[in-house]
Symmetry: C2
Subunit: 336 residues, 2 copies
DNA sequence: TTGTAAGCGTTATCAC
DNA sequence: GTGATAACGCTTACAA
């Protein structure tokens, strides 16, 4: 593989000059030399060695997309369609700006720190952080960090969040406005200080506002995979007076709908369901799923824009962007 | 950040010794020294600089997951749930074996080559390759390459494929056995020498075998996103004698089912549908989707195992693994 | 049992 | 306009 030295040798100049030309610092290099060098670069197929650059420049052009996984469940980063489409969006823009995306799951904050140091990572995206060891670690770091779906505040981080509370509140209120009063709440594990907790609070607030007593037996915390959803549905069916369910993810809502159908319950005739995210799945299920919409591509774009700005050393004018959510009415809710 | 030299200085030994201890080449290092060094490593939080290692060792521990995208459509790597869950599986195993995953989309083979050289990439996964410029490039490379969903043969590559022909053949034959004769075929762009072509051939073979004339007006090549599927369904409805559809991806099948329903067609009463992949979506749609099953986690595992073996310099005993497919009967097909 | 020195590819500093 | 030289952190002959 051709190196700068090769180019230098072939063109009869020094490595320094080649490097300067490559970096456009050619103010005082003769046009002729520039010409020669560029020609050689193409002919020899020279490509910069990022490791060497990284070593000398303390900037690796590597951006980490970090997923924190819980050790015990063998979860796959990509389970969540939201995650994966987000990653796709990020990769594209980063690439167009000369960066490289490393995907990494970590179980502990030590692992994360090790990874960041291994590669001199220039910046990182992190989803779903809580006030835990990760938060403590992240707040000591100086690289650009963009958080997704996080409710922790820190001057070091940028954050692209969502109106989670409002979304869930709207969903619940919508069911109430359709005459529902026994409304369940289904969600993956609700952690303190997390997105899902906000959504849970939104649900509760809507109940309270309408003088509907909160009943914790109507709150179901569950895995998102299809099997778990199917068995969760059986639990839900055991409480026959439930007429509506607010679910914090479309995938889960669709799974529950399938489960309810297997239990002989009709959606929306027997039970109404509202999802969250508005992924294309909502239009595929029968009945189509009424849900809370979020603009995933826009979130991706904003997150990367923030990242790029910080990488360039600018302070983004906003450290926190909260995107709106709104209800999309489809067929999975009926008035009673 | 602590370097080997720091450890050396603190412990009063040379960098060489530290390096040797780190790499377990401590055969002739005193137990006491080893002790000291390990202690210092922990205390100073030493973490190897992969760039430096890569530079000196010609091995980067970076594995590329390459996605070839067509420039004109702004497609997202992660559109396809198959892709994303595959990536998740790969990341985990690679990580456990000391490797790092870089995600990269490329439009041209030059871009790919540049990327590989930039990072001295140790190995790569590549999905859906054809006999095109990429094939030509890949055959010149000497790093381990594992292909997914590919029908090109080359001594340099490993390949984890599927019984695509058989899968589609089975799906079609199943419809025929249920009395269907006007059977459509819906798929994303069918490229020469690709997976989808194999599936297409399987479809055709089943028709031929049953003396059903092939009608190219019943072949629909289409994007996979929901909007395209909805409008595709309208086209399908215009040919009223179609009673069954073989689709090469579950996501697409689900989209088409939704579209048919909007056109007032009932599945399976008016039209039967068979999908491909057997992702969890099949259990969420109504009716549940009869489909061709493939074992995605197993494919991921095999692909990574092959990769790891090659990375360790062994020749995997099999360069090609073709996983079986089989039909999963659900509700989307009826006998006529 | 441990250390010295060279070199991987690049860039920054400073000199010519 | 251009070029030495040192340095980034690490590994590996080879010496001692």
């Amino acid at each position: 593989m051709a190196t700068i030295k090769d180019i230098a040798r072939v063109t009869g100049v020094s490595a320094t000059t080649v490097s300067n030309v490559i970096h456009g610092k050619s103010g005082r290099v003769s046009a002729e030399t520039i010409e020669k060098i560029n020609k050689a670069i193409i002919e020899l197929g020279y490509v910069p060695n990022m490791s060497a650059r990284s070593l000398v420049s303390n900037s690796s052009k590597v951006i980490g997309m970090i997923n924190h996984i819980v050790p015990h469940n063998q979860s796959n980063i990509m389970e969540d369609p939201f995650q994966s489409s987000f990653i796709g969006a990020i990769e594209r823009v980063l690439r167009e700006n000369g960066y490289y995306l490393m995907l990494r799951t970590v179980e502990t904050s030590e692992e994360l720190l090790k990874f960041l140091r291994n590669w001199n990572v220039d910046g990182m995206f992190f989803t779903g952080i809580f006030k835990d060891e990760f938060f403590d670690l992240l707040s000591t770091l100086t690289i650009p960090i963009v958080l997704i779906d996080s409710y922790v505040q820190h001057p070091n981080f940028c954050n692209v969040g969502l109106e989670d509370f409002e979304g869930s509140y709207t969903a619940t209120k919508y069911l109430i406005s359709k005459g529902h009063r026994r409304i369940a709440f289904a969600s993956p594990n609700i952690r303190d200080g997390g997105v899902l907790q906000e959504r849970f609070y939104g649900y509760k607030a809507a109940l309270t506002e309408n003088s509907i007593p909160f009943d914790k037996r109507l709150v179901f915390e569950n895995e998102m995979d299809i099997e778990s959803c199917l068995s969760l549905s059986k639990e839900i069916c055991k409480i026959p007076d439930i007429t509506g369910i607010v679910v914090t993810a479309d995938v889960m809502a669709a799974g529950i709908m399938a489960g309810l159908r297997r239990c002989g319950k009709k959606v929306p005739d027997d039970i109404s369901v509202v999802g969250f995210d508005d992924i294309s799945l909502c239009q595929m299920v029968t009945p189509t799923l009424t849900t809370i919409h979020q603009d995933i591509p826009l979130r991706g774009k904003i997150a990367v824009d923030m990242m790029l700005e910080m990488l360039e050393g600018k302070k983004p004018e906003k450290r926190e962007v909260i995107l709106p959510t709104y209800l999309v009415e489809r067929e999975s809710v009926r008035a009673i």
